[in-house]
């Protein structure tokens, strides 16, 4: 059995850990709220953009664009969104596992990756995969600008035939407890389902519909990437909050157990001392 002093030392170190995990949990909770607000704030824009695009697509079938056309998938681009920091439970490992599975399933095709977050970059750098882009040390500051940057480059590569499809893998935020690794196909854009009752609005266009469609689609891609980023950030903080909450309650349990051990050791010590005193007294008689 450990000595009293050793146990005391362990208790105080566990208490320190508990303080840290508790603080991290609070920070994540605050960041999660902000991330959720950002996701909510992006919704009107996303919905309106989708509606406009749908309206435009409903105008006529003669509107065509390479972004809307399926073709043989030989070269695939996958964007993987992880976090820069660890200590968030299985958040990153489940995403990386999903990415590995995606690559395995498409061993016939060439998959190149765009990595967001240091966790993904650390993992895939040591492996035999093509990495097109890396965005690390952002610490959750994922901006619409970055989404636009990625979207523009991918759009170009799609148009000049370097890539035939574009997928995004991110953790969809269900709740602070549940984040689901989700794979969305961004390019080619699956033709938006057209609702029956919504009669197409007859617009006056400026400039021509074809030009408008092209720039709308570009925005749409940016928006999809941006939305995945927001989800990913919210998920990260949710995962970390849950992980740190578990760690804190584990620390509490551990402190309880150690305190019990400590009291037992103390009691054993006192009993032993008493015994020694009695024994000494007896022997002196």
């Amino acid at each position: 059995m450990a000595t009293l002093k050793e146990i005391r030392k362990r208790v105080s170190s566990v208490q320190n850990i508990q303080q840290i995990t508790k603080a991290m949990k609070m920070v994540s909770a605050a960041r999660l709220r902000r991330a959720q607000e950002a996701a909510l704030a992006a919704r009107p824009y996303a919905e309106k953009l989708e509606a406009v695009l749908q309206n435009l697509a409903a105008q006529g079938d003669e509107l065509a664009h390479p972004f809307l056309t399926e073709r043989a998938e030989n070269n695939i681009t996958l964007i993987v969104m992880t976090s820069d920091r660890g200590l968030c439970g299985g958040f990153n490992s489940s995403l990386i596992r999903a990415a590995e599975a995606f690559i395995r399933q498409r061993s016939e095709q060439k998959v190149s990756l765009i990595l967001v977050g240091r966790r993904a970059s650390d993992h895939f750098k040591r492996r035999d995969v093509a990495i097109a882009e890396e965005h690390i040390n952002l610490y959750g500051r994922l901006s619409a600008d970055l989404a636009h940057d990625i979207g523009r480059r991918v759009g170009e590569r799609f148009l000049n035939g370097e890539t035939d499809s574009f997928h995004v893998l991110y953790a969809r935020f269900r709740s602070a407890l549940v984040q689901v690794p989700t794979l969305d196909k961004i390019l080619p854009i699956a033709s938006t389902p057209q609702t029956e009752d919504q009669s197409a609005v007859d617009y006056l266009y400026e400039p021509a519909p074809q030009t408008l469609l092209a720039s709308l689609l570009e925005r749409y891609i940016d928006m999809l990437i941006y939305r995945a980023m927001l989800e990913s950030v919210a998920s990260e903080h949710g995962a970390r909050m849950t992980a740190m909450d578990n760690a804190t309650s584990n620390a509490v349990d551990m402190i309880d157990r150690l305190t019990l051990d400590m009291n037992r050791a103390r009691q054993a010590g006192i009993t032993r001392e008493l015994l020694e005193i009695v024994a000494t007294g007896e022997s002196l008689k």
């Binding site: 824009y45 406009v52 617009y203 006056l204 400026e206 709308l216």
Partner: protein, 135 residues
Amino acid sequence: MADILHLRLVTPERLLLDEEVDEVTAPGTVGEFGVFPDHATFLSSLQPGRLSYRQNGHTQSLAVSDGFAEVVDNLMTVLCTEAAYANEIDAAQAQEAVREAEAALSALSPTDADFEDAQNTLRLAQVRLDVASNG
């Protein structure tokens, strides 16, 4: 007929404006256009520029990035990646942004893939400066 025009301005970051106005002037890619109540159904792309609207006789201006404007049934929706009022822009910072954008643009040739983006960045920076200094 309803004579009130509703203007709604959204960016990916926020819903910036959702109000009733009398008149809107917006920077379309093929030229500036004005929107009054009962305007025809209309869809246009926007270039970085000054978007102003009149409300109870006062005119307010915003610097907006490239985007889209849609007018349907007296509801005008403006979608753009960035938008800001004059009081949200720091003139010195805007000046700096203009300089940076000019430098970035001069390093590119018109055939570069980034040229158009750089042009838009410069235009946006100039508009932000203009809105910040002239209101």
